[in-house]
Subunit: 453 residues, 2 copies
């Protein structure tokens, strides 16, 4: 293959993920669904299923070292960014209801997912067989709340008791899901002694606590030394992220993405956390995120899907939605919500997204999940994204076509924070316009001779 082939690959991925992303957004699904579909359509899956003529092959994508390398760094940056938008102080504000909804909402999917994994267990036995079963449950733990937030915003219910409970529970749920992932991936490591593994996990959490203390102290001191925001702050934050990801794997046998996420949480608690976060966004959306998700799509090989896989996919969707509905719903009921509200909470927590895919990707790399399950996991994410907004609107007894009621003054800090980042981006854009508008307007017309004088 030519040495410059990667230019075509990246261009095609960026363009197709964006186009499909915009299409899926029109259908009220997250853009990540579009990115996955783009990967499937331009990858080997569609090419093989349609038996396209050979001369078309160069136009299609193939998994390459180049793309998988970019994906590896992409997943680190995605998890780091996720950490930066996780405000750990809000955990204290989340309250008992948020905690209970999250806890039962993690345990039920974990259990039912493991059961599903057991039922579809591959024949061969192995030391990690139980972990492989549990891993299916692990994929199902983390809620993706963005679709729910958009839907609740649309029907004007985001700043309700149910909305706040969902936001709080989703936050805790992320952290719990990552704790489960930490334990499961550590157990799958090289160490045979389970006590050693558990000791390492405990030591890892001690390490994170120490890094949090030192990191926040150090960054706060350094960031406050300068009145200006400097390029070095995001750069040093990235070094912390990469360093903690490396140490997590190397010393503690814990998944690198957990280290990256922890670093993100630390950075979010430094004075210039928001500035640092804003600098990682272009890195994500311009290159790393589209490539990571398209690369997952590339790994799907539809023609190889057996009937077993198709049945597995259907059951995975049912378990994914059902387990959160039951788990989170029961949690809400236990906290004094009425049945209707409990169902609303359960449905609001049913969506899965980026984190499920990232966890699946990690599991496949560690041999805890067969590659053939990428298809079902993607189908699960897409189905949840289609199902949630429709079901939520029905649960709130609001017609889907109802005119949007805009939020006037959200009072919850959780809701506030959600709005702030979008606002910052707008302000940045406004600045760029103010500064450059005059000039950009002038240049096409005036052949100014100012500097000839």
């Amino acid at each position: 293959m030519e040495s410059y082939r990667f230019l075509y690959d990246i261009a095609l991925i960026l363009l197709s993920t964006k186009i499909f992303g915009l299409l899926t957004r029109k259908l009220q699904m997250p853009q990540v669904v579009g990115a996955l579909i783009a990967g499937i359509i331009f990858g080997p899956a569609l090419f093989n299923i349609l038996h396209l003529p050979g001369f078309l092959e160069p136009f299609f994508l193939k998994p390459t070292d180049f793309l998988s390398h970019l994906s590896e760094i992409g997943v680190i940056v995605i998890m780091f960014s996720a950490g930066m938008t996780t405000d750990i102080h809000e955990l204290k504000n989340a309250g008992k209801s948020g905690f209970l909804v999250a806890l039962i909402g993690v345990l039920v999917p974990l259990g039912l997912g493991a059961l599903l994994g057991f039922l579809f267990s591959p024949d061969e036995a192995g030391p990690n067989l139980i972990l492989q079963h549990i891993f299916i449950g692990t994929i199902l733990t983390a809620t993706s709340v963005s679709i729910t937030v958009e839907t609740l915003k649309e029907i004007g219910k985001l700043n309700s008791k149910v909305g706040n409970t969902i936001l709080a529970a989703a936050l805790i749920d992320d952290v719990m899901g990552l704790v489960v992932l930490t334990i499961v991936t550590s157990l799958a490591g090289a160490d045979v002694n389970i006590w050693m593994v558990l000791l390492k996990i405990v030591l890892f959490f001690v390490f994170v606590a120490v890094m949090a203390f030192l990191g926040i102290k150090g960054f706060t001191w350094y960031e406050n030394r300068y009145n200006k925001n400097l390029h070095r702050f995001p750069l040093l934050a990235f070094v912390l992220c990469l360093g903690m990801a490396f140490v997590a794997e190397r010393i503690f046998g814990v998944a690198d993405i957990i280290g990256a996420f922890s670093a993100g949480v630390i950075i979010a608690n430094t004075p210039k956390g928001a500035y640092i976060d804003s600098k990682f966004q272009p890195l994500s959306y311009l290159l790393l995120t589209p490539i990571f998700f398209a690369n997952i799509g590339l790994k799907v090989a539809i023609p190889e899907m057996s009937w077993q896989i198709v049945v597995f996919a259907i059951l995975l969707v049912v378990v994914a939605i059902g387990s959160k509905l039951i788990g989170c719903g029961l949690g809400a009921k236990a906290c004094g919500f009425n049945w209707k509200e409990s169902v609303q909470v359960g449905l609001g927590m049913a969506c899965r997204g980026e984190v499920a895919l990232i966890v699946a990707n990690k599991g496949a790399a560690m041999g805890l999940m067969p590659d053939a399950y990428f298809g079902p996991v993607i189908i699960m994410v897409v189905c949840c994204a289609v199902f949630t907004p429709i079901a939520l609107k029905i649960a709130f007894r609001v017609k889907p076509s109802l005119h949007a009621i805009p939020e006037t003054e959200p009072s919850s800090p959780l809701v506030d924070r959600y709005e702030l980042t979008a606002k910052l981006d707008d302000m940045i854009d406004e600045d760029a316009r103010k500064l450059f508008f005059k000039e950009e307007q002038e240049t096409p017309k005036t052949e100014s001779t100012k500097n000839k004088k």
Copy 2:
């Protein structure tokens, strides 16, 4: 090697290039020099020369596929960004003096560099031997004006006749250097028929002109449809960049970096060009630029330097500075500058930087430059960076320690543009502070119970 080794590599590169970059900046050298030094120090060069014990080896960097892949995308983004900061309309404002200084300032280094290449020619003959000689000249064509700008700013002479001529000439010089690179790399391609090659080059320029027309029309129309700046604009710009880079190589046999640069120039002329440029900056400084330059440093193998290479390095420095001093100086003299001013212009144009390294990198990849010359090219860039500010200050008869005279109101559009980007970054930072400051201040103290109500 462990699958997560890249985390350590990138962390070390980012940290070391930043530290060395800040050190070299203290010494009034560009940060890229620091990045190169970091690559040399943490690469095989220093490890081998010091005969360090083997157990230290894991702490050092080695050229890996991962790093070279990131470098490849890095050089594309760097050239795209360079294109976006090249205001083609300013070419018209540059005037006769800027043009003449640039032209003679490109031809003399090209000729003298080729002569040097001829003198140090490897023994083996080949079809590309003449091109290999000319290539040494090609590396020397492009001026890096940033050090000169900083120095002139410091002594308060940026907005002078000499300063404006240097800015204008450096702009034209970049474009001319890329035209030379286009021709040289095309001739080194697979085509044996020289007329075919020249036809392809002409067709490539036609292609760029057509893309410029269509691209500016299309982007202007699309960008004006939305009042807001959207993520899709930088993304589509990146697609244009990658697409043009690919087509340049695939269809026209022209170096991909030329295609990327051309795309950057096109984007700069669209309404949201400045916004798009601002989004590529974090992509550069957070990941791609440090890795590209450190990767060049990694390729240097000091112990293998023969005496011939050392002599070559010394002569390369002399030719680099001398040829620009003579070429640009004569150009300035021919335009009516007096001798003192002509020397000032010549010295102001003597610096080389990123582009010289990128051209050398391309040449090495194409077999036009032996890898052993990376060391001399780096030495040349470093020496020019040390020499220029000192010599310029002497030429302006200003003591190097003189207190800085700040510019009050620069009137040249070239100078203006140079200041604008820095200003935008400050405004963005200000916004982030305004938005998040209150919140960040609050969080550590108040365990607010607002959303428990």
